[in-house]
C-alpha cells in the first residue's frame, strides 16, 4: 500500500492506494501544535499498518513557519558594503498609492548581519578573502548574543565564483559544528543577488524546524514498520527526509504541489495531458497549469512576502474560498474576499457564530449544497442562517439573486487567476481541460470553463482529497541547477556534456536508477527572463530551435536572427510512481437519487442528485445535476453532460 498524507491548515487528508487499485480516503482534523499527531490519527487505523510500503507526506510546516514568522533565529554573512541587501529589496514600494504600507521585514535582524571584506566580480576575485578576515567573521558570529540557530552565507557573484563562500562555510562548520549553514551557491546558484540571498535566508530560517520535525517523524514512522517516508517538495517531486532536511526551503509549497501532481495523475488516467487546475479551499483558491503531462514550473515566487526563487510548481493564489466573505463597497460593487471567515467561526451556515455572508452560504442558498448532507467536518448546514447573512448585505434582491451574485464574483476572481497561469503565459485555455478540486472547486467548473472558453471539465475522483492522492503516487524527484552563462553559439557540444556531467552524477546518486532529464534556461541575449527547454542531445542548434518555438508560443514573437544565450542548466532526476489503477468495486451507482430544486443562472431548475464517490463507470449524467460526495460537491450545469470514466473521474463536456 502506498499512502499519501496531506496535512493542511484545517484537515489532514489521507489516501491509501492498494496494488489492486482500491483507494481508501480519510479525513481527520489537523493538530497544529504537532502535525504528526493528526497524521498518525489518520494513518494508524489503516489495517494492517505494516503493509504500508511508502508514506508520502505533504506538509505545511515550512509554509506556516514563514507565514507565522516562527522559524529559527538566523544570522547572515554577506559581502561588506552590501549588508542592507535584504532591506533594499528591489526598491519598489509595497503599494503604489498606500504610502504608509511597507514590505514585511526580512527573516534576519539587521544586527545579525555580518559583512565580509571580500569581493568577486563577473570575471573572478576582485578583493581576496584573507584568512584573518575569515577568522574575524567566525569570531563575530560566535559573539552574537543570543547565538543564532542557523546561518545563511550569500556573497556577491557566488553563483559563478563560489570559492569565497566555500571557504567561509568550511571555517564556520568547523567552528560551529552544530549550527546548520545555508550557502547561496548551494541553495540557488543563479544570478540576481537579492533573490538568491533572500532564498538562502529562507533555507537557514526553516532548516532547524523542518529537520527536527522530519527527524522525529521518520523515527515514529520507522517504529510502525512503514517501509519508507518521503516528503513532497514545491516542485512536485519527493525527497527522502534526510535530503528534505537539507533543502527545507524547497518545502514551502509542499501542500499545493501535491494537488497539482494529483491533477496531473488524473489527467493522465483520462488521457488529457493539458490541464488548468483549480484547488478551491476554505480561504483561497490556487490555480495552476499542466502542459503535456508536466506541471508548469515557476522560479520567481514569493511566500509570505519573502522572495523564494527555488523551482516550484506554478501556483497563483487568489482569495476566493468557501469561507471568503462578501460585502458591498462604497461604490455599490459586490466584493468577495480577501477577508475570510476561516474555519472559526466559519460561514454563517455552520452555526458557529459567523454572521457575515460567505461563498459557502451562497452555495447553500442556491441549494447547490444540501443542508441535510453534512460537509467534511460533520457540521449540519443552516440555510436560514445563510439567508439571513445574505440579506444583511442590504441589496435590493432576494436571497437567491444575491447568492448568484456572490458566486459570479467569486468565479470572476478565480477566472483571473486561471488566466494568469494560462493566457498571460501564452497557453490557450481553449485547448485544455479544466480540473477543479478541493471541497468546493467542482461546484464552479462549468462557470469557469465558460469564462475561459473551455469545453472539457474533469471532476477527479475524491476531489476533496486530491492532494493526498497526488502524494500517494508522486514521483521521486530531485531538481538540480547550475549557472552556465554563455552565448549558445559559442558552446561546443563537448562543453555542454561536460557541464551537465556533475549534475547528472548527483542526480544519479540521489535517485539511483531514476530517469535523468536535462533542461536549459535560455533567453535572447539581453533578456531578463528565461524560458526552460528540454535538452536532447548536445547539439546547441537543437536547443536554439526548441527555444525559438517556445518563445514564440509564449510571447508571440521570436526573431530567428537574434543571438540566444544559455543561463542555467538543470537536471531533474526522476522515478515515477505507479499510476494507480483506480479500480473501485464500490462504484456501483447507475442512477440518480431523488432530484432537488436548485437555482442556476437566476432560474429554479430541478437537478438530479448523484452519489459522486460511488458512480459506476460509463454512467452518463445530463446537467443540471449535483454530484454529492463525502468531501466535495460538484455541479454539472445545463448544457453540459458528464460521463463517468473508469478511473472514477467524471468527464464533463459541453453538449
Amino acid at each position: 500500500v502506498r499512502v499519501g498524507v496531506d496535512v493542511g491548515g484545517t484537515f489532514t487528508d489521507l489516501v491509501a492506494l492498494a496494488d489492486d487499485g482500491t483507494i481508501e480516503v480519510r479525513k481527520v482534523v489537523t493538530t497544529p501544535e504537532d502535525p504528526a499527531v493528526g497524521l498518525f490519527h489518520a494513518l494508524d487505523p489503516l489495517k494492517p499498518p505494516h503493509a504500508v510500503e511508502l508514506l508520502v507526506h505533504g506538509t505545511t510546516i515550512a509554509t506556516n513557519a514563514l507565514l507565522e514568522r516562527r522559524g529559527a533565529r538566523i544570522a547572515l554573512v554577506t559581502t561588506k558594503g552590501f549588508e542592507d541587501l535584504l532591506w533594499l529589496r528591489r526598491q519598489d514600494r509595497a503599494a503604489l498609492y498606500d504610502l504608509a504600507r511597507d514590505h514585511p521585514p526580512p527573516l534576519v535582524a539587521r544586527s545579525d548581519v555580518v559583512g565580509v571584506a571580500e569581493r568577486t566580480g563577473p570575471a573572478g576575485v576582485l578583493e581576496p578573502l584573507g584568512e584573518d578576515e575569515v577568522q574575524r567573521v567566525v569570531a563575530a558570529l560566535r559573539a552574537l548574543v543570543p547565538p543564532p540557530d542557523a546561518l545563511a552565507v550569500a556573497l556577491l557573484f557566488a553563483f559563478r565564483h563560489a570559492e569565497h563562500e566555500r571557504r567561509l562555510v568550511a571555517a564556520l562548520r568547523e567552528a560551529l559544528p552544530n549550527v546548520p549553514i545555508a550557502a547561496s551557491h548551494e541553495v540557488l546558484p543563479v544570478f540576481r543577488e537579492f533573490e538568491r540571498a533572500s532564498t538562502t535566508t529562507v533555507e537557514a530560517y526553516l532548516r532547524p524546524k523542518v529537520s527536527a520535525y522530519l527527524g522525529r517523524l521518520e523515527r515514529d514512522v520507522r517504529a510502525r514498520g512503514i517501509g519508507m517516508l518521503r516528503v513532497m517538495t514545491s516542485s512536485g517531486g519527493t525527497l527522502s527526509p534526510g535530503a528534505a532536511a537539507g533543502r527545507a526551503a524547497s518545502l514551502a509549497l509542499s501542500g499545493p504541489a501535491g494537488g497539482v501532481i494529483g491533477a496531473r495523475l488524473v489527467g493522465a488516467a483520462v488521457g488529457l495531458p493539458d490541464l488548468l487546475t483549480l484547488d478551491m479551499g476554505g480561504t483561497s483558491a490556487d490555480a495552476s497549469l499542466v502542459s503535456g503531462g508536466t506541471p508548469l514550473g515557476d522560479g520567481g515566487g514569493v511566500v509570505a512576502g519573502i522572495p523564494l526563487a527555488l523551482p516550484a510548481v506554478l501556483i497563483e493564489t487568489v482569495s476566493a474560498g468557501g469561507g471568503s466573505i462578501a460585502r458591498i463597497d462604497e461604490g455599490g460593487a459586490l466584493k468577495v474576499g480577501p477577508e475570510s471567515a476561516g474555519a472559526v467561526p466559519g460561514p454563517a451556515c455552520y452555526g458557529r457564530g459567523g454572521a457575515r455572508p460567505t461563498v459557502t452560504d451562497a452555495c447553500l442558498v442556491l441549494r447547490w449544497l444540501d443542508a441535510q448532507h453534512p460537509l467534511a467536518d460533520a457540521v449540519r448546514l443552516d440555510r436560514d442562517a445563510a439567508e439571513q447573512a445574505l440579506s444583511s448585505l442590504g441589496m435590493a434582491s432576494d436571497a437567491s439573486a444575491i447568492a448568484a451574485g456572490i458566486v459570479a464574483v467569486a468565479a470572476a476572481v478565480m477566472a483571473r487567476a486561471l488566466k494568469r497561469v494560462s493566457v498571460a503565459r501564452g497557453f490557450d485555455p481553449r485547448r485544455m481541460a479544466l480540473l477543479p478540486f478541493g471541497g468546493a472547486g467542482p461546484l464552479f467548473g462549468c462557470q469557469l470553463a465558460e469564462a475561459l472558453g473551455m469545453r472539457t471539465i474533469v471532476i477527479p475522483p475524491h476531489p476533496g482529497a486530491l492532494s493526498a492522492l497526488g502524494l500517494a503516487s508522486a514521483a521521486e524527484r530531485v531538481d538540480l541547477i547550475a549557472s552556465f552563462h554563455r552565448p549558445l553559439d559559442d558552446v561546443p557540444s563537448g562543453d555542454l556534456g561536460a557541464a551537465f556531467a556533475p549534475l547528472l552524477e548527483e542526480g544519479r546518486g540521489q535517485i539511483p536508477g531514476g530517469a535523468l532529464l536535462r533542461y536549459a534556461d535560455c533567453r535572447f541575449a539581453g533578456q531578463g527572463y528565461e524560458v526552460t527547454v528540454p535538452v536532447t542531445g548536445d547539439d546547441p542548434r537543437r536547443i536554439r530551435e526548441a527555444f525559438l518555438v517556445e518563445h514564440r508560443a509564449r510571447f508571440g514573437h521570436a526573431a530567428s536572427d537574434q543571438p540566444v544565450e544559455l543561463v542555467n542548466l538543470r537536471v531533474v532526476a526522476l522515478r515515477e510512481g505507479p499510476l494507480p489503477r483506480f479500480a473501485d468495486l464500490r462504484r456501483v451507482v447507475q442512477r440518480p437519487g431523488a432530484s432537488r430544486p436548485i437555482t442556476l443562472r437566476g432560474a429554479r431548475v430541478s437537478a438530479s442528485v448523484w452519489a459522486l464517490d460511488e458512480l459506476a463507470a460509463g454512467v452518463t449524467i445530463a446537467g443540471p445535476a449535483i454530484l454529492a460526495g463525502r468531501n466535495a460537491t460538484a455541479l454539472v450545469e445545463a448544457g453540459w453532460r458528464g460521463m463517468v470514466h473508469q478511473c472514477g473521474a467524471v468527464l464533463v463536456q459541453r453538449t
Binding site: G81, F82, E83, D84, W87, L88, R89, R90, Q91, D92, R93, A94, L96, Y97, D98, L99, A100, R101, D102, P122, L126, L156, F157, F191, R192, E193, F194, D329, E330, G331, G332, A333, L334, K335, M395, A404, G405, A408, V409, A411, A412, A415, R416, K419, V423, A424, E450, A451, G453, F524, A525, G526, Q527, G528, Y529, R554, F555, G556, H557, Q562
Partner: protein, 510 residues
C-alpha cells in the same frame, strides 16, 4: 448604468487581466535592463473614445499621461483603422519625454476600431547629444533625442528611428516586445467580445468608468478644501542653478479636485519643463492616494480631476522646450506641492518623501544604461515611512548588482541604506540610499536629481529628511549635471530621507 453590482466586479476583473497580460508579455520578452529588470513601463487598455478602461499597476507618472497618446493617434488624418499600430514619443503631441516610447494599437473588433491597447516603455537610448538621452544641459528638445510624432509604425518608420540611436539592436528587440504586448491586448479584448458579446463589453467599459468616477467623487466630496495654496522649489534646470517655483492652488468642490498652477515659474531654459499631461499624472497620483484602494485605476477617476495652468509655464511647456527632467523630477515636485497644499488645509497626508528619482545615465559609444535610485518615503500619521523605496511618480525596481556588472563597465562599491537620513517625528521618515559606482571604462554620465538644497519636509511637527548629494571622487556636484568619467572615478549618490510625521514623543518614535 446597466451593470449591476456583480457585473461591475466581473467585468472589472476581465479588463484588468488583459492589461496584466500585456505587462507580463512586455517584461518577460524585453531585452534592456531598464524594461525587464526595472520595469520602467506601463500597459493599458482604452475604449474607442480614448478613455482608459484598465491599467496594469506599474508607474504612476505613466498613468494619467497615456490618454494624450491615444488622443494624438485618434487625431491623425486619416483616423486610426482597425489593426493599425502607432508609435510616438513627442512630448508635445501625446508623449511625456523622449525616452518614453509609446505604442498604440487600434484594436479591431467586428471590423471597426473597438479600443486601443497602449504600451509605454522607457528606452534608455533615443539618440541626442549624449548617450542615455537624458542630457543635463539641454536647452532645446532637439538635443534630447529623435522626436517621433504620432506615426503609423511601419518598417520604414522603425528603420528611421533605429538609424538615430546608439543601440539599434536593443531598441529593435524592445520594440518587438512592445509590439507583442500591444497585440496581446488586442487579442484579449476580442476574446472578451467573443465571450460576452461586443455590445455588452462596450457597455461594461462605460459603466466601469462611471463607477470609478462615482467612487472618486464620493471620496473627494468628503474632503473640505478651498483655496489651499503652496509653493515648492525645483533646484535649477541643468542650464542654470537658480530655484524655480512650482505653485498650486487646490480646490475641491462637488467631488472635483481642481489644481491651478498660476504663479508657477515660466518655462525654464533647461530640461525641467513638462507637458500638461505629466502635470495631470502627478495630480492624479495624489488623488489616488486619497481614494480607497479598491477604486479602479481608469479614466473615470480622471473625470473628477481638473488641471489649469498658464500656457508656456514650467508645467504646461511649449515646443521646443527641453523636457527630459520634467517627466521624472518636475512631476515629483508637482505631487509634493499638491500634498503640501492639502496639509496646509489640515488634510492628513504623508510628510514629503525623497521627492526625486535620482536619475543616473551612463553611456559611451555602443551602450547606454539608465537607472533611478530609491530613497526615503515620508512618514504618515500612524506609520513610519518605508526606507529605500521609490516614492511618488516612480516605482521602478533596481538593477541587480550582478546584472549591472555583467552587462556594463561599472562596479558597485556600496549599496546601502543611509542611516539617520529619515526625519524624526512621532513617526520617522524612511531612510535614503547610498549607491557608489566605480567607473571601469571611459564614459559619459548625466545625473538629474533634486532635494540637494531643499530638504523633504516633515509634517505636523515632524523633522525634515536629510538632503541628498551627488559626489564625484568626493567632490560635490550640482543637482543636474553631465560629466565625462575616466576609469577609477567613483560616483557616489546619497539619496534624501523622508520627512517625519508629528512631534517626537519620548519613547515613541516610529
Amino acid at each position: 448604468m446597466t451593470l449591476d453590482a456583480v457585473g461591475l466586479e466581473v467585468m472589472g476583473h476581465a479588463f484588468a487581466s488583459i492589461a496584466e497580460e500585456m505587462g507580463l508579455v512586455l517584461i518577460h520578452s524585453a531585452v534592456s535592463p531598464n524594461i525587464r529588470e526595472r520595469r520602467d513601463c506601463s500597459a493599458a487598455l482604452f475604449d474607442a473614445a480614448g478613455e482608459m478602461i484598465a491599467q496594469a499597476a506599474h508607474i504612476p507618472v505613466h498613468l494619467g499621461a497615456m490618454q494624450e497618446s491615444v488622443a494624438a493617434a485618434r487625431g491623425l488624418a486619416p483616423p486610426p483603422a482597425p489593426g493599425d499600430i502607432f508609435i510616438l514619443n513627442d512630448p508635445y503631441t501625446g508623449g511625456s519625454h523622449l525616452p518614453d516610447i509609446t505604442l498604440i494599437g487600434a484594436i479591431e473588433v467586428d471590423g471597426a476600431v473597438g479600443g486601443y491597447s497602449v504600451v509605454r516603455a522607457h528606452h534608455s537610448d533615443v539618440g541626442g547629444v549624449q548617450a542615455g538621452s537624458m542630457p543635463a544641459g539641454a536647452r532645446e528638445i532637439f538635443a534630447e533625442g529623435v522626436i517621433v510624432p504620432p506615426l503609423r509604425l511601419t518598417d520604414d518608420v522603425e528603420r528611421f528611428l533605429l538609424a538615430n540611436v546608439r543601440t539599434p539592436e536593443t531598441r529593435r528587440a524592445d520594440l518587438a516586445a512592445q509590439r507583442a504586448a500591444v497585440k496581446r491586448g488586442a487579442e484579449g479584448l476580442r476574446g472578451m467580445a467573443a465571450r460576452y458579446g461586443w455590445a455588452a463589453v462596450r457597455e461594461a467599459a462605460t459603466d466601469l468608468l462611471d463607477y470609478a468616477e462615482r467612487r472618486a467623487r464620493d471620496a473627494l466630496g468628503r474632503l473640505k478644501a478651498t483655496d489651499l495654496t503652496a509653493t515648492d522649489w525645483l533646484e535649477g534646470d541643468g542650464a542654470g542653478d537658480a530655484d524655480l517655483g512650482v505653485s498650486v492652488r487646490v480646490d475641491i468642490a462637488d467631488g472635483v479636485f481642481h489644481v491651478d498652477f498660476t504663479g508657477t515659474a515660466p518655462a525654464a531654459r533647461g530640461n525641467v519643463n513638462c507637458p500638461l499631461a505629466v502635470a495631470r499624472s502627478a495630480v492624479l497620483f495624489v488623488v489616488h492616494t486619497l481614494l480607497p484602494e479598491d477604486v479602479p485605476t481608469n479614466g473615470g477617476v480622471q473625470r473628477a480631476v481638473r488641471i489649469t495652468a498658464p500656457p508656456g509655464c514650467l508645467v504646461n511647456a511649449r515646443f521646443p522646450s527641453a523636457v527630459a527632467a520634467g517627466n521624472v523630477e518636475t512631476s515629483q515636485r508637482i505631487a509634493d506641492t499638491v500634498f503640501l497644499a492639502l496639509a496646509a488645509g489640515g488634510i492628513a497626508v504623508p510628510a514629503q518623501g525623497q521627492g526625486t528619482m535620482n536619475n543616473v545615465t551612463f553611456g559611451a559609444s555602443g551602450w547606454t544604461y539608465y537607472e533611478t535610485i530609491g530613497g526615503g518615503q515620508g512618514a504618515s500619521h500612524g506609520a513610519p515611512g518605508p526606507s529605500g523605496v521609490h516614492v511618488g511618480m516612480s516605482n521602478t525596481r533596481n538593477t541587480p548588482i550582478e546584472v549591472l556588472e555583467m552587462d556594463y563597465p561599472l562596479r558597485l562599491k556600496t549599496y546601502a541604506l543611509r542611516r539617520g537620513s529619515g526625519g524624526g517625528g512621532r513617526w520617522s521618515g524612511g531612510e535614503g540610499v547610498i549607491r557608489e559606482f566605480e567607473v571601469l571604462a571611459p564614459m559619459e554620465a548625466s545625473i538629474l536629481a533634486e532635494r540637494r538644497r531643499h530638504a523633504p519636509r516633515g509634517a505636523a511637527g515632524g523633522r525634515d529628511g536629510e538632503r541628498g548629494s551627488t559626489c564625484l571622487n568626493d567632490v560635490p556636484l550640482a543637482p543636474k549635471v553631465s560629466v565625462s568619467l575616466a576609469p577609477g572615478d567613483v560616483l557616489r549618490l546619497e539619496t534624501p530621507g523622508g520627512g517625519g510625521w508629528g512631534k517626537p514623543e519620548r519613547g515613541d518614535n516610529g
